[in-house]
Symmetry: D3
Subunit: 339 residues, 6 copies
């Protein structure tokens, strides 16, 4: 396979703090010899574990970028044992545009793995993570939030994996992150995800959903900051005590957790994130957008559960996911669960 065209302006083998770019040539009408420059900070101090920390995989999710910019600005080499690679805006063009997908090629980076060195710019970025950055890492944290169109209860997540030891490592890392909620999940559609790329290499992998609506609050950013700090201690890269608070553990037992809109219109929620609902409770009403005086259609809960995600915008389209329910678990996480 040909070489990836990205050239980093930092040296991943050098000790100290370096701020630079992953420079990707990007010839376009607006700049024949232009490039995409993805900011990167490397903090290294001798040998030790390597953590790869990313935000901005989707460009409209802000807790990760904020926590990682703060970390990049303050982390000192002397505080570190090993290496921390910080990439606050993994899909920098999407971040600059404030969009989930890259404006350059309209591609979702988190479904573009393993990528290709001669594909579109997003495919090239994926390939650089796949073949250059992920192999360097021992532990991988990828921040997500709901973006402009979803809201989430704040949680860290690990996946159900075939390798029980790896799965235990991932769960331990997730618990070290210690968000208010912790989710054990199996992705329905893991092919092409960065998560899957990392896990397939045996990495300890943690992801999050920390809010949404295309905004960030002091509360959700604090969760992110605490989480990444805890994780680096957990990994043995930083010293000190982890801050641990209670975290509720959730799971999504079947596809019934997903509630879709069959019609479009103006959405009115009957419930809020964190509410507990019973099967057949109203979740939301969808009002027609072209009339007054007509009744709304109602979306009812398909199962008992806790509202963990909801559609954010006031308008909804046919086929949109309106809400996701989950159930709280307290025992035996090793039993396989499905969603």
């Amino acid at each position: 396979m040909r070489d990836n065209p990205i050239s980093p302006t930092v040296d991943f083998d050098a000790d100290g703090v370096q701020h630079g770019f992953l420079r990707l040539p990007y010839s376009r009408n607006e700049s024949a010899w232009g490039s995409i420059q993805i900011p990167v900070t490397v903090v290294k101090n001798g040998t030790g574990p390597c953590a790869l920390l990313t935000g901005g995989n989707h460009g409209d999710e802000y807790e990760g970028p904020l926590a990682l910019l703060g970390l990049a600005q303050t982390l000192r080499a002397k505080d570190v044992t090993g290496t921390v690679i910080i990439i606050p805006f993994m899909n920098h063009p999407a971040f600059l545009a404030g969009t989930r997908l890259s404006p350059v090629d309209n591609i979702n980076l988190n479904r573009a793995f393993p990528g290709a060195p001669d594909g579109t710019p997003t495919a090239k970025i994926a390939d650089f993570f796949q073949r250059t950055l992920l192999p360097m890492a021992d532990i991988v944290l990828d921040f997500h939030s709901g973006g402009k169109t979803l809201d989430f209860l704040p949680f860290a997540a690990s996946h159900i994996l075939d390798d029980a030891a790896q799965m235990a490592r991932c769960r331990a890392a997730r618990d070290a992150f210690n968000a208010p909620f912790s989710v054990e999940m199996r992705e329905i559609d893991g092919l092409g995800m960065y998560d899957d790329a990392a896990e397939s290499m045996g990495k300890t992998f943690v992801t999050t959903e920390l809010g949404g609506g295309g905004s960030a609050t002091p509360q959700t950013v604090a969760i992110a900051r605490k989480g990444v700090h805890n994780l680096l201690i957990h990994a043995g890269i930083l010293q000190g005590e982890m801050q641990i608070a209670p975290s509720r553990v959730l799971t999504q037992p079947s596809d019934d957790c997903f509630h879709f809109a069959d019609t479009g219109g103006l959405i009115e929620f009957s419930v809020t994130l964190g509410d507990t609902v019973q099967q057949n409770d109203d979740i939301a009403h969808i009002w027609p957008a072209h009339y007054s005086g007509q009744p709304p259609r109602t979306i009812k809960a398909q199962m008992d559960g806790i509202v963990t995600a909801r559609h954010h915008p006031g308008l909804v389209l046919p086929g949109d996911c309106v809400a996701v329910l989950a159930i709280e678990i307290t025992t035996d996480l090793t039993k396989e669960i499905q969603c």
Copy 2:
């Protein structure tokens, strides 16, 4: 002045409940003889006061449309003394697009008054309110929220007016609406506003800001529903007891309440809506979007106050209003205040 081209499909003089449209001819490439159809519901029972209730003046604000759709579907003529005119989506094209401005002519309806019968479609809508609907009304309620780019503490508002009696009427109506917060304000830039159009005709006028971010919650919709119900009782159109809870009264004493960004980037708030800040406290940090490892610029409070509004999106542009502060007042609202 020529006639307004809008033809209503309802009869404003007829008793009973009517659901129809304000039909505005709109010739365009996609439909030579097309029209904009603004839904309208009229509920009338004999003589009595007339309330004109509007949402969707800005197309990305949802509490008003939801409260008014519910009212339009449930209000019975026999419950009413007088007339209730309900227009849930005042700027229907903007509502359908989920945008503040009309996608048809890129105009802000709330700066387009008094409008013109031979102007752009938005100007024609303004003219129809100016010359046809407002003259019918005794009391006017126009719902607003923060839209996709602002978040507000939920409040109802009245303005400082030259006519003390009218101002007292407006304030009483605002207090009847009974949102969690109540604001007495003077608009900096009232020319072209629907508010000003209504007030200049001597109408009792109430407006609101009930949340934002381009979404609505069960809580903010409940405020809207209670408010409009209270207001109709206050106006003598509905019977029954108003539901009244404590409401904190705020004012904005000077232009120092507005905090602007001089630089663009990724915004991190230090405070949340409802927080109390002291002058020189940090309000927000703006991080550069092209680098890691560089410090943010900090926006500090120009005065003591309560955070009543904030920028919603994760990215901020130079010149954006980042936050608005207000102060709580308990005495003598008749003393003129400025912002």
Copy 3:
């Protein structure tokens, strides 16, 4: 009022055949010192009446441009007594784009009269017709068809006018045009129309609707060619015999002739142009675009009549005019009729 910035490259006072442009300076990003060049042909032979012939008032209507291009290429000065001014593409930017409105300023030229010399490009074009070209003319023919979104029975039309003598002149000219159908009509919304501008100056004015759907057929072009030739004979500018065939005379007695869609979807017509319908007959069904298995909504005839116009595209939007009915008349056209 300031001068109109358009400079013609032809001399309207010179005898002979001239082909040139109406050159309108149009500074834009793509060309700082660019211009809009509206083709014009002038054929003049001494003194005599002046006919102003226009097509492309709307840019997606083709019978007029085709008939006038043919005339411009073949008309010889020696065949003419007086002057013929031929402007096949009145709104040349719209014609080049194949759109009803100008792509330059999104304005409908036929609602932009009297225009303004310092307005948008379309306003400047209107002003040039208003103050320069119309005053030259004795008889004015403006070709229209249905464009991309409407289909019409082929007809020539004159309006009901206050001046009975002028109205008789216009009707006589319309009858000389001798399309298969002839319509006597009063425009609902005449302000801003070229028709009104011409008639207000006392000109003999004829307009047409000759088909539609954004295409032209040999049959509809033949109607246009015969019509303009007849009209020039009728005006005394050309010699020879008019070709006269039977023409059915229609009128639109009330607003009930217009049938609007209250819902959007996929349209299925029950009737065709020229069909006779009875009140309450089905005119069209509108099927929902998001489901199979749901019934359509039906649009029924509001009156007895002949289908004279229909919506062309397969999809329909709320507020679109779906069909227009008219009734055939045989007597006393001087009695005022309304639509």
Copy 4:
């Protein structure tokens, strides 16, 4: 190969009438967890042949969707022996946009076969037909018309196939459809077509061209309704008598049947669909769009034939297909013909 991500909400194995969707996850900026929902109706009654009926392969062709919506709403399980799968809008995003290609990925579904489960949304739809739906079917009918840019004589078509028995089956099905014209053809560019995908699996396949211009008439919809009803009888799924009228059989003997524009401009046809022309007759004139007084270029017939297709829009671009001729055949269809 990975699984196709589309999940149907209907059960293809269940008896009765079901209306549902093919739900395709479609993450995009406007909806992180959105989906494309392609309506589907399944009518099944025990064992028997399976017909797969599709419209909206191209989104601006309306006879198929209208005939199939009517069938989906009225077909009862008890009338059926076997299974009828009805998909009125195969490329639903293109249908909603009224465009030939999908607005989602700008891809022509009818050149996207066999598709891919991890490609663009259109590729995923093709793959679902290729691997899930086509294998269920015995007989396949795919409706086409000319769309917004072409007009056709109404015909049903079968292809020349290597397997004489399959070819005879297809021809018999085409003749059962019994459109006013029937065409036996070999596609120039069959790779990637749905037709080819179906035929390569040995299915009995019929396609149509039933009009065009982006509109549908009662006449062309009636052809479609009769054709699908006849075909279901022919297939043994419905009972009853087929309605059979005379049908003229056409063929396109060489590439000379296609007439292209070498220049752009305003097109004026000399002939109409169904006209018979001789070699060197004028087919159309193309007038320059920037001048009056210049002659048009003429496109002449390259062969004798019947006009079976023509360019619809009034403007034509260099390279557009202006017209297609065909010749009527009365004998020996088994002899191989080429176009």
Copy 5:
């Protein structure tokens, strides 16, 4: 007339150096309470003349912004007698977009005077110059270049004015600017220009054209820097010696100086800026863009002259100005000349 909504963050009456903004509220979908912030630098030292220096009137012209940014960064209050107001990007939104017109309202600021306080954003900017800034100034310099679509010989210009004394003042200022070429001109289309607004108030006004093509060179920027420095000395605001080199004086005696394209295509110039041509010499050939093997159309000189401006892009559209000629003059500039 209502107040202009722009609020400066600098105090024009304060001594010293201030860098700030002209803040114009600009509510839009992307920012409900956003603003346009036009950078401004004021350098004041006691009483004395006031110079108003502007660049970026058109957003794709760079010599002015570069010279003025340098001046704003280096000018010290103590070096100045009076006031220097520096606005490097007069139409800041156009400058940021790199376009001639404002992307906000598609308006050419230099045809928008006198503007309006309640118009579009560009109209509001014009009004602020008209009613607030121009009245402060004694001498006004507005930098222009050719932008992305024109190239110019570098010149400073003054206009023919009715007031001989004012005209002499302007000419003297232009000569103090001392560009390689100096032009005495009368604008054909002065209405709406900033030039006319300034001159109508009796101001000493100088404008320039200093190159083009959407780029700037060290040579053209040096002309701009020297010119503004000389001008401030000439105005008595700075001390020191002006740098004066020979400057050739040109004039445009008639409309024949402008050469337009009647056809579009690929342009090949026969001459270069500064070349001398004789009437009927070839200026350029326009090759057809859709063919090889066809001859180009040739544009010939309508008069003798020097090539002072040319179309920059490789492609040309019908109606574009291809070239401008001028003639060199050495005597009696007081004689009125026209172009």
Copy 6:
């Protein structure tokens, strides 16, 4: 591999002069059966070498198209020994749009080789050159210039190749072209380039960079005309004497020759094309676009050299290539050099 869908309207084996098209079927919303027509001229006289001459590989580079249009119009078959294939606009859609990339699929033709017969339109064009045209050729000339965003010193170039004999042939052809500068280079990123496709087949290949900024001058077109004429003599296809002038030979010894912008803003160059700089000299300043009164960032020379390329537009984006340096060489070009 399937056949390429392009059908030429010329016969490459026929003697004489033919002007025609490469016709590529291109079905799209605007034309269901449309095509891309790439003009081609073939001049053939018996047997002999075959030269393939192309311009418009990038659509905003004009010297090649102009030189080749002139050649296509004037070259006579009797003057030729062998074959000359002239394709002035290789990527015709990009040329018509005036853009580097194709507007059809947003692809850079010069990174699309070897292409694919079933890919996007640009991939199909590449495949036609790869499998049909290049195999016919002995010598290949592909014209380039800087386009809208780069400016170059005018040069012809050959590449460092593994095959010394081929490399010598290419260098000799480059020297025959005899531009003012000649460059011996190794591409950093040769995969997907037309250059590489031609060289991999053993062809004698020459490319150029002859100016830029999206314009052409009489001087740069003269270089192109002379170069192609010389090259055809050198190839033995034309008779006569080559015009040879001195040419300076340059090379780019390392990646230090490339200078990138790490920040965006307004660019001010300190040097001009052809200037000699020393390491650490200023090359350009980048001024912030949102402020006055702030200092620019400076880009300094990373090596000694001659300025051979520069960014053209006045605005620069982070990651843009600002300037390229090269060094002059006079000896031993056979020694391998790298950039």
